[in-house]
Symmetry: C2
Subunit: 264 residues, 2 copies
Amino acid sequence: MGTTELPNSPAEVRGLIRTGQWRGVTAGVAPRYVQANLAILPQALAFDFLLFCQRNPRPCPLLEVIEAGQVEPALTAPGADIRTDVPGYRIYENGELTAEVLTLAEHWRDDLVSFLLGCSFSFESAMTDVGIPLRHQEMGCNVPMYITNIPTIPAGTFSGPMVVSMRPIKRDQIVRAVQVTSRFPATHGAPVHIGDPAAIGIKDISRPDFGDPVEIRSGEEPVFWACGVTPQAVAISSKPSLMITHAPGHMFITDQRDADYAVF
Amino acid sequence: MGTTELPNSPAEVRGLIRTGQWRGVTAGVAPRYVQANLAILPQALAFDFLLFCQRNPRPCPLLEVIEAGQVEPALTAPGADIRTDVPGYRIYENGELTAEVLTLAEHWRDDLVSFLLGCSFSFESAMTDVGIPLRHQEMGCNVPMYITNIPTIPAGTFSGPMVVSMRPIKRDQIVRAVQVTSRFPATHGAPVHIGDPAAIGIKDISRPDFGDPVEIRSGEEPVFWACGVTPQAVAISSKPSLMITHAPGHMFITDQRDADYAVF
């Protein structure tokens, strides 16, 4: 089943994932509904990670925390099961990727706490809605992401640099891009930097640390937003005994609409 | 030393409090600087309380969390000491008020986690700046507060109804009041209700549960905002072995300016 034939309802898409009838990259799936990054950690690390997210809301915009012993995102997707409704998972042990799996049936433990974090799809819709084109979408590739020299605020064992995503924006559309993304603080919000990559520690804009390079054309500036890769990178670098994430691009689809998270 | 003779610098005011040279209600002290509600809980309850705040940002807008073993609000007031720099504290044991003290020297424990939460002074300044008068300020009394039938989202042992504050606003200023307070989500933000008190479970508007009654005049509607009493009430009702708060009206004064917390 291709993406274009999928139902629009998040619950129906999650049902297809849960029963193994569809699995894939979720970009463009269930348009207008909020998709989420996933990070699952043992309860012993949960306070520090929650505090890290509270201190760094731009890269770590928390949508929901599912407490230990529970598997239902009751606030953002009632009836869903976080163990089965994501179309791909990654298992990290002591900071090393040890498996990619399609369900968490064999990895679940009752001491695991699940964190759902906003992703960039919401604010990208806000930009394309007002006629700001997105180069990586035009090119059909991943958004380029870079490790910066912008520090996050540490919490417990969690610390590290902010990871940002970059979108080239025409100079006469930069103000509008700031305005429309500012409405979505729950999905990374306003840019963290506009222009010179070197000012935030990026040495070579043509070589992203994650994702794919995209062309910056004459009349455009690179604009940088805090990226949801940050909390995953920070968590993995602390080498927790177990950490589970979604597979890249395989997000959790909530029942919340983008508009539900607009500040006004 | 009266309030009017106090220095404008938050650090200097905190120094006077720490050395016992001034203690009092902090309304109007260090204008334009953010003041904070304080809740201190044992580490065993810290994850649940942090999660409660994350789930209920309107009544519980977290400004900073000071981890167990630390006493400095390093993000909002570097150099301050949470044990000495608040002009009055209340000690609760098993949900009962057992003492009012001027320092925490004799009550401090290394397992205590301190939560600083935004208060209404910031958004009240935003309203008076645009010419919206505040009745309780005109009357020189406390803002009236009410227990509503609006549920909070529970977390662990913490649950309970939302407490709101009420300000009568002229009908032709209500839209402006919504606009200017919406800019301050870190200090309760936009109203949670406008008009009919019964719709949110308030039976008698002339008898607030906390604070003082104020007159609602012809041409005015009661407008309700989430109140920082909510997290304290919720925490106390869970009867923690120890909980410490600021004394009513005796807030912690941070180095952050109101404008630092405006969303834009």
